[in-house]
């Protein structure tokens, strides 16, 4: 047969394909904004930290027990700041993980639809409170309250900052955990109920293990929030670098220190100024480690239904 010309209604429509391509590029570029920002931040952190480590040895940075960048005899022991970050985060997680998980179990497995629909917006409201408000709440309400029990507690302390930070993180953990538990198929719950399990047994033996990868993701997010939280610790835990794991001490965290320096006492380019990049890089690596842990936990405990 001879090659017949393609009928008009089957002809290749250039305009349609160009439109599709434009949309594809638009979508790609918005994805690139996020990726490029991350890459840019890491690049700056590493570049500026290299300047810092050109002047301070990495051994001193990791082993020195003092953090005094502004003294005439400066010391740069990151553990001093890291101890504050780790202690306040640990306190926060001791509050947020049990409370957040229990709340999620209640909302997902026990609460009636009406209770759930009322409680969830309130929890979201809690997540929307600016952290500076939480900071002053810790300083002016929780610390005085704790002083009733423990009168020697200093005005600035890691305990009250950590506790309030824990409350702040609860809605993040409960919301993600609840989503994960609600995603567990009803057939699995029915299987357990059909064996004669009570609601609590179904929740703890079946739903929680089945949702474990989601719970792990929630906890990791909680850890990252705690480690990166700035205003609460800056306001309520004090700005005094202090190598301590004692919750009743005051101490500066990495974030609180960065705020303090960034407020502008130090000239740009000085070693003291460069410290904030090294401290920032440490923080970044810390959250990266937790996120990677979360990633592998999720992969390891992923349940397919």
């Amino acid at each position: 047969m001879s090659q017949a010309p393609i009928a008009g209604r089957l002809a290749y429509r250039r305009s349609r394909h160009i439109r599709e391509q434009i949309i594809e590029w638009l979508l790609l570029s918005s994805a690139l904004v996020a990726v490029a920002t991350t890459v840019g931040i890491v690049f700056i952190l590493v570049k500026e930290s290299l300047v810092f480590f050109g002047q301070v040895s990495i051994i001193d940075f990791l082993t020195d027990s003092q953090w005094t960048p502004l003294f005439s005899d400066p010391h740069f022991g990151i553990w001093v700041l890291l101890s504050g970050t780790l202690t306040s985060s640990a306190i926060a997680l001791c509050v947020a993980i049990p409370v957040g998980t229990t709340l999620a179990i209640y909302l997902s497995e026990f609460a009636s639809a009406r209770v759930r629909e009322t409680a969830k917006p309130i929890l979201e409201l809690l997540a929307g409170i600016p952290t500076i408000v939480f900071g002053y709440f810790a300083l002016f309400f929780v610390t005085p309250l704790l002083k009733i029990i423990y009168p020697e507690l200093p005005g600035f302390n890691l305990l009250s900052a950590g506790l309030v930070m824990g409350v702040m993180i609860v809605p993040y953990i409960s919301s993600i955990s609840e989503d994960a538990m609600r995603a567990v198929p009803m057939s699995l719950r029915e299987g357990a109920y059909a064996m004669g399990a009570t609601r609590l047994q179904v929740a703890l033996n079946v739903v929680v293990p089945a949702a474990f990868s989601g719970l792990a993701a929630a906890y990791i997010l909680g850890i990252s929030r705690a480690v990166g939280e700035t205003m609460i610790v800056a306001v309520a835990a004090g700005m005094q670098p202090n190598l301590t794991f004692n919750p009743t001490d005051q101490a500066a965290t990495i974030t609180a220190y960065i705020v303090q320096v960034a407020k502008g006492d130090l000239p740009h380019g000085s070693v003291g100024y460069q410290t904030i990049f090294a401290a920032g890089l440490t923080l970044f690596l810390l959250t990266l480690v937790f996120n990677l842990m979360g990633y592998f936990l999720r992969k390891r405990f992923r349940e397919e239904y």
Binding site: P185, A194, M195, A197, N205
Partner: protein, 265 residues
């Protein structure tokens, strides 16, 4: 059944349970209408009928699964023998009911636990802690579910690593481990391939020696193969009930005949 030359009059058989004037409602919608149906002891009773006829709804009344969802309502009775109590009575604890009546679902639903713990689950929630007792019961249940030989060397592996047919036999083993009096099957083979289906049907054949079985199935050949009695339901009504070969070969109702011969449904 073909192997039964002489069928006794059903009224001489012992009953395990019976639905008496049972109505069931999802909110305002009536899903079961005045069902009267005996379940004979150590016999297999099949429930057949087109989708939406209420056969699964009926099955789920027995272990009070509807209690889990708001807006459902039972009327009438399901009597369990030899206790002669109404399972639907408000004074009856659904958890106690479910401990005596096990259910196997349409889709295999193993728990996110090891093979061993899946089978031991019913015993664990009854408070059994002795490892040796658990081990014995788990082995017995897995043997009764024809799964022991395939899993005996991997009892600590996650149940989700099993194939679909194995998972369903695991769910049967899980139901058997707590020694139920009545086993409820809700289309247990509809998610399985023909070979796995055959093994489940073979299993039902063996189990009926020891236990009363009520099975919902979409597959009429399956009902004919595995059951002693068949009930045909349509739109919430029980249309016909009798010995399986009577229902299949000598149906009394025109509707049943139309459904079974494939003219409808």
């Amino acid at each position: 059944m073909n192997d039964e030359q002489k069928k006794p009059d059903p009224s001489t058989l012992e009953k395990k349970a019976a639905a008496l004037a049972l109505n069931f409602f999802y909110g305002q919608k009536q899903a079961l209408k005045n069902i009267n149906l005996p379940i004979y002891d150590r016999k297999v009773t099949a429930l057949i009928g087109p989708s939406g006829c209420g056969k699964s709804t009926f099955l789920r009344c027995f272990n009070r699964m509807h209690d889990l969802y708001p807006g459902t309502r039972y009327e009438g009775q399901i009597r369990l023998y030899p206790d002669d109590v109404n399972l639907l009575d408000k004074a009856v604890d659904p958890i106690e009911v479910r401990m005596r009546l096990s259910m196997v679902f349409q889709k295999p639903n193993p728990f996110p636990k090891s093979i061993f713990e899946n089978v031991a689950y019913g015993l664990r929630i009854r408070g059994e802690k002795r490892r040796s007792v658990l081990m014995d019961k788990v082995e017995e249940a897995l043997k009764n579910a024809a799964l022991w030989n395939e899993v005996k060397d991997r009892l600590d592996e996650l149940a989700t690593t099993l194939s679909g047919g194995q998972q369903q036999r695991l769910c049967i083993a899980r139901s058997l481990a707590s020694e139920p009096e009545l086993l409820l099957f809700d289309e247990p083979t509809s998610a399985l391939d023909p070979i796995a289906t055959a093994s489940i049907e073979e299993l039902i054949h063996q189990l009926r020696e020891k236990i009363t079985i009520l099975i919902v199935t979409h597959n009429m050949q399956q009902a004919a193969r595995v059951s002693d009695f068949t009930a045909y339901m349509y739109l919430g009504d029980l249309i016909e009930f009798g010995w399986t070969d009577d229902v299949f070969f000598r149906p009394k109702e025109k509707q049943t005949e139309d459904y079974i011969t494939g003219r409808f449904g």
